[in-house]
Amino acid sequence: MKKLLLVSLCLLVLCITQVFAQNRTVTGTVTAKDDGLPIPGVTVKIKGTNLGAPTDVNGKYSIVVATGQTLVFSFVSYLTQEIPVGSGNVINVVLSSNNKQLSEVVVTALGQSREKNTIGYAQTTVKSGEINQASQISMFGSLEGKIPGVTISNTGGSAGGSTKVIIRGYSSISGSNQPLYVVDGVPFDNSRPGSGSTVGALDNYDFGNGGNDIDPNNIESISILKGSAATALYGSRGSNGVIIVTTNHGKAGKLVVDFTTSTKITDAGSLYTPQSTFGQGWDASHIISENGNWGPKYDGQIRVWGPLVNNTQLLKPYSFIKNDVQDAFDKGFEETNNIALSGGNENSTFYLNYGNVYDNGILPGTGDAYKRNTVGLKGSTKFGNFSADASMNYISKVANVTATGQGDNTQGSFYENILQIPMDIPIKDLRDYKNLYFNVDNYFTPWAENPYYSLFENGSHYNSNRLYGNVNLSYKATSWLTFQIQQGADITAVGDKIWSNYNNPTPGSWNAGANVEGGVRNPDVGKVIEESHSVFEYDSKVNALITKKFSNSFDINGLIGVNYNDRGFRNLSTEIKNLAIPGFYQIANSLNDPQSTEGESHRRLFGAYASATLGYNSYLFLTLTGRNDWSSTLPPGANSYFYPAASLAYNLTDALSVKSDVLSYVKLRGSIGRTGSDTAPYEIYNTLTATNINLTYGNLLFPLTGGIAGYTVSNSLNNNKLKPEIQDEYEVGGEFRFFNDMLGLDFTYYNRVKSNQILPVPISPSSGYTSELLNFGKVRNRGIELGVTIDPVKTKDFRWDINYSFTRNRNVVLSLPAGLTQVVLNSAYGAEFVAQVGKPLGEFVAPVPVYDPAGHIVVGSTGFPVSSTQNGDYGSSQHDYQMGLTNTFSYKGFSLEFDLDFRKGGKFYSGTADLLNFVGADPATLYNDRRPWVVPNSVQAVTNATTGAVTYVENTTQITEANVDDYYYHTSNEAQNYQRTILDATFLKLRQATLTYSLPKSLAAKLGAQKLAVSVYGTNLYTWLPKSNHDADPETSNQGIDLASDFGEFRTSPPLRYYGASLKVTF
């Protein structure tokens, strides 16, 4: 067929040649401006005719034209050029890419490509180059601070740990604030295993969130839709913003092979700074079995430490050990590789890729490791008006993670144990945890365990297999109407295992009570948890796309369609405690019966939608959108809801023809939109639950011994009148470019209110339930987003690009259900993270001292402050603002980039700080050189025995030297503890610095490559924290990746720092 066509074309050309003698053959090469490489597949057309030819694999073309005719060179994502044919026979053309140009095409809702010019809301596109700058294994690894309105944080400190992405602040008090991830048009699961797990303990194991599964090397671009008008087409799931990932696809032309490899060294990014004055002990005495730094001052004298074993005892100087904590870790190693093959002809293309990641983490041994293999195949074909494409991807992920947080009676946590080593004890020596002096019996303290025991004997293993992909069929019925059918699926199967070993100090040993304090450490009874978890999602869409130009002034671009979505998960978890044979981790290996729980969730959603963009004279665009959803999770008969949106884009420069050398471009935009969301499944009807009684510490689980079954009325009161949550949002903004595009500004102001929130409202237990699901609660987020791009220097060889982003979000809770003063979102040790009316969503409240009317701290008879019956306010987790700054310098083939990320203000709770204060390692505990003092500005209350009147007299009761330690702990000084554990969340990070050298084409060619680039880089290179925070990185959290994680961290791992080099070659 093709051959026939060519022959007839030749014949035609021949005919014409005979008729018009002046016709001749013009040849040339089309190359790209940015890299100088030839571009295959460029359409070369004679203007006003149907005649044309494509460029070949070397970018060469040949066409018969007549003088005076005009050749039109066009190619996707390049600016179209028109060149009149003069007298020459060779016309070489350099096409420049259309980035930042008026005709920039961006991906919008449901994967529709639109010229950016026409959209009336804020949208950010990130290209492959930026995403893969430092060869991060997560697609968000290089984007922190770069996207206005989007907060990206690395919460995990383990290899492959989670990334938290929040768009325009938190809106939902108890629901999800996670954006919807869409990969090639299909929703992509982003759950972080643990959060939805039946085993609560999993929260302390961060195996990474689903969104991190995608190999960033395969991403062509990410489009971030922020506001409701932008996301309304996604219906129920778009209200928190949508992240649309477009993966690479094959391109017509010869086979192209892309190969990328990178190697990194990792270490702990920022660690706490302990005090270096006082050493091991408690109550101001040197006690060799203590886990605290409350002993006397360091004197450098050689002292014995640890127990007397076989009549010998260890010796060491009583002095502070520098880098003691840093040395507890190893240097890690990370390796990533990716190879992609692509090619095709005008009708069919393919893209095949394989990528792998290996990371062994910064902990000694294999307790933290991450392995990922990804394979994907994508193909497309066209036949007449019919086209089809499909992709299928497989991801295998294997991770080992060490528990963070608080240990329990089955194990201790590595991080919690590290904190409890006095700073005169060499931590790294303890690695030899089976050594006579460091083993279970003789570890120096009964109050904690050897961290390396926790690391080497306890652990977790996670294995997930994920398949996702889609099939798209489309049929172009007429020039203006196209039908599309898309079917997508995303299926993950996870198996994980968590274990800890049995140990018990031998009777008579140091830790069984023979230590100087008589402390007895409880046995770790050991456990095994075996879990399986499967997640599925099927998504189908049928769309009709309409593009029509009515007159020279009006055009319309629209779609109408339906969507059916079916998703859910299933968990099965089995646990045993009390290992019968230590060191053998199998469900059968227990003194007790295994306990199993299962859970499943299944929901369906049907949606019908339509959207139309009406254009007027290519400068004014109005988009109207509407969608109606029917959800399975809402009460029958009341499960349908509609949301509309409208947006307007006005291209001022074109409309008023005011383009000049100063003013290059102005677009104003405004939009208003509504989105909604349904509830989780099974929240309509009341239920019983299997009885598992919380004892505060421990639990009592049915069936009781003797075959006694028990079910109890659930504590959550469901609601058969639930309505969907509604979010209303408007935004206004504009894009401005000046001085021939040298300076660009993109500004947005938004205001969104989420109301009718479905809240499990805590209710008085005396009602018989502890929470009731209600539609109530209103949260407003409003803020500004600003993106600035500047190219102050732009010469042929040298170029300086500046990218700046600024985000300021103000979040406020507008209402809560009547009678409810607050909703507790998270808490630890008396510090609560709450929603209160008039305050930002996520306010810290905790005990405070009692003050007398004159403002003095009231202390009790012991000289310690008395805590108030009312909690006090410690501020919110919300940053005042965040800014990102990227500088890129390019000189010929060299390019140097560094990224700064600054977040100002806000608070976080640190469980690390709590423990560091308890053990006297925090520098704050050096107050008054730990000599006796009277609480500054304090009084004691005196009650008149007859009148009952209270007066206050100056307090003279000292905090004695032996009680200084009690001053720094929440059980003994509740009133003042929280000022040391709720810390300033400000930070400035040098996120990334990259130096890249791209070989000149000629040199690359000598090596047989089209392109070759080498980079060296570092990520998370430096962190500046305020002086008041000695304890923890505010970004880290082991509390999930949603609102609750803004609470802070509870003894989690430090963030990771990477140094590495990469090589990228294209053949």
Binding site: V516, V542, A608, T687, L700, A709, S767, L820, E974
Partner: protein, 500 residues
């Protein structure tokens, strides 16, 4: 144009069929596969769960509070867990779990059992549930003075129930028990009874439990409503029918495994990272060893426990080196949880007889109480006889001039077993026995204070209440935050309505 029409029609049909398919498919998948519907509840499935809830809290965290406040156990000075209890430094956010579980876990279930049993004429379950509901409410009233009752447990019909005063609640509970006793409860029990299930006299046991509980409640009213107390007690004594066995969850329902064991053991010994928080208190050991009590070995595993002075947890190692090895209370994973022991029943009878019947029969009841305590703890009645035959005040009936003091002191000694230590605290608050000491039990040089009388309760040296003993808990935060009807805060040191 024709072609286009076809396409339009196809699309139309497609969309409609899709739509229809969708609508059918999205309904009826919203019934939870994870939890059974409320309608599947029965007394047999709810009652054990509710009783275990009461036991888990009264016999768990509240037993620890009771054990510290009744001065059986002191907080160790080398750990931290219960410092706030031993210094009376409990604020509204503390100990909320007990309140929550007793209401939403236990009482909600009892309430549903009552409704179901009443509707089905299952009066045997109605009696069981009513007695346990009254027991649970009584603990809450005794801790908080006022709690919601008349408007409580109405679910979403009233999520902010008003508080009722304790006296009203007591009277209502007694009336409810009487009403349950008036029904034909002698019906076959078909499972679900983990208190007297398997007993040949099962329903008769329940009647005795009901009567003894009423006796306890009437005796609580001696200060606030002496007439009610006397009338009530005398009504019960017209045909005395009180417990002579323990009412509680027997050892057989527990196993030595996490989450399957005695709640006090699971909490204090198994789950915390150190099991050495609670130590023998001198207040208790001084009385035990001073009276050659063989129960010392049962309570502490040794006849000569090493003690700490109550509340002395800030003592350093240098000041009080012996504290390092202070004896731990004996706790076992299969200890029972007792709601009302036979010994307590006898001591209540002895107290009633002493107060209202001029002591007739009081000595017998007193000595039966001591014997019951010995037997329950694995000792013999002969050992009990030897013990109470010693000519010691508050040990032998004859040597005790203040008979009430003797009865209540011996009741205190007996309540250190069976996870109902809280009862000893209530008993002391109501009667003033054991007496409180004017002096601390040690001198500033950490030697025993010779002026201290063994067994008298001492004020914690770390107490934050200015020398006043704790008398109650402040209203819990879970209520304060969620219920506008919560009364204004009352200090921890204010006595409850029945307090002395």
């Amino acid at each position: 144009m024709k072609k286009l029409n076809i396409i339009h029609k196809t699309l139309f049909v497609f969309v409609i069929s899709y739509f229809g398919l969708g609508c059918n498919k999205i309904t009826n998948i919203n019934v939870s596969p994870n939890n059974p519907p409320l309608t599947s509840a029965t007394p047999q499935i709810l009652l054990p769960s509710a009783v275990a809830s009461t036991a888990s809290r009264v016999g768990g965290e509240l037993a620890i509070l009771g054990g510290i406040w009744s001065q059986y156990w002191a907080q160790s000075n080398t750990s931290n867990q219960y410092k706030n209890m031993d210094s009376y430094n409990l604020i509204r956010t503390d100990l909320n779990g007990n309140y929550t579980e007793l209401f939403a876990g236990a009482l909600e279930d009892y309430s549903l059992v009552n409704t179901q049993a009443k509707a089905a004429g299952q009066w045997q379950y109605y009696l069981m549930s009513t007695v346990m509901e009254a027991y649970t409410y009584e603990v809450l009233v005794d801790l908080y003075d006022q709690v919601p009752y008349s408007q409580a447990l109405q679910n979403n019909a009233n999520i902010q129930p008003k508080f009722d005063d304790g006296y009203t609640i007591y009277k209502a509970l007694i009336a409810q028990i009487d009403a349950a006793l008036a029904q034909n409860y002698n019906l076959a029990v078909t499972g679900g009874d983990i208190i007297f299930g398997g007993s040949t006299t099962e329903m008769a046991d329940w009647v005795q439990f009901a009567n003894t509980l009423e006796l306890k409640m009437y005796l609580r009213m001696i200060n606030a409503h002496p007439t009610d107390a006397q009338t009530g007690v005398q009504k019960l004594f017209t045909s005395p029918n009180f417990l002579s066995k323990d009412a509680g969850i027997a050892s057989t329902y527990f196993t030595n495994a996490a989450s399957k064991d005695n709640p006090l053991y699971d909490y204090n010994t198994r789950t915390l990272n150190t099991a050495t928080n609670l130590r023998a208190s001198y207040t208790f050991t001084s009385f035990l060893t001073g009276s050659n009590d063989p129960r010392t070995t049962v309570y502490f595993g040794t006849a000569t426990p090493v003690f700490m002075h109550q509340g002395d947890y800030t003592a350093t190692q240098i000041q009080a080196p012996s504290y390092n090895t202070a004896t731990l209370p004996v706790e076992k994973p299969t200890d029972p949880v007792i709601f009302l022991s036979a010994a307590e029943s006898y001591f209540l009878q002895a107290e009633a007889l002493q107060r209202y019947y001029a002591g007739a029969g009081a000595q017998t009841a007193y000595e039966s109480g001591i014997t019951a305590s010995f037997v329950a703890e694995g000792l013999t009645s002969a050992q009990a006889t030897t013990y109470y035959s010693q000519a010691l005040t508050n040990v032998s009936w004859a040597s005790s001039t203040d008979k009430l003091q003797a009865i209540l002191t011996q009741k205190w000694v007996s309540l250190a077993f069976g996870c109902h230590e809280l009862e000893a605290f209530f008993s002391q608050e109501c009667t003033g026995y054991p007496l409180t000491s004017a002096v601390y039990s040690r001198k500033s040089d950490f030697t025993v204070n010779p002026a201290y009388v063994p067994g008298q309760w001492v004020y914690s040296p770390n107490g934050v209440t200015g020398g006043l003993f704790p008398k109650r808990l402040v209203f819990p935060d879970v209520e304060r935050q969620r219920n506008n009807n919560t009364p204004a805060e009352v200090p921890l040191t204010t006595k409850v309505w029945w307090g002395k």
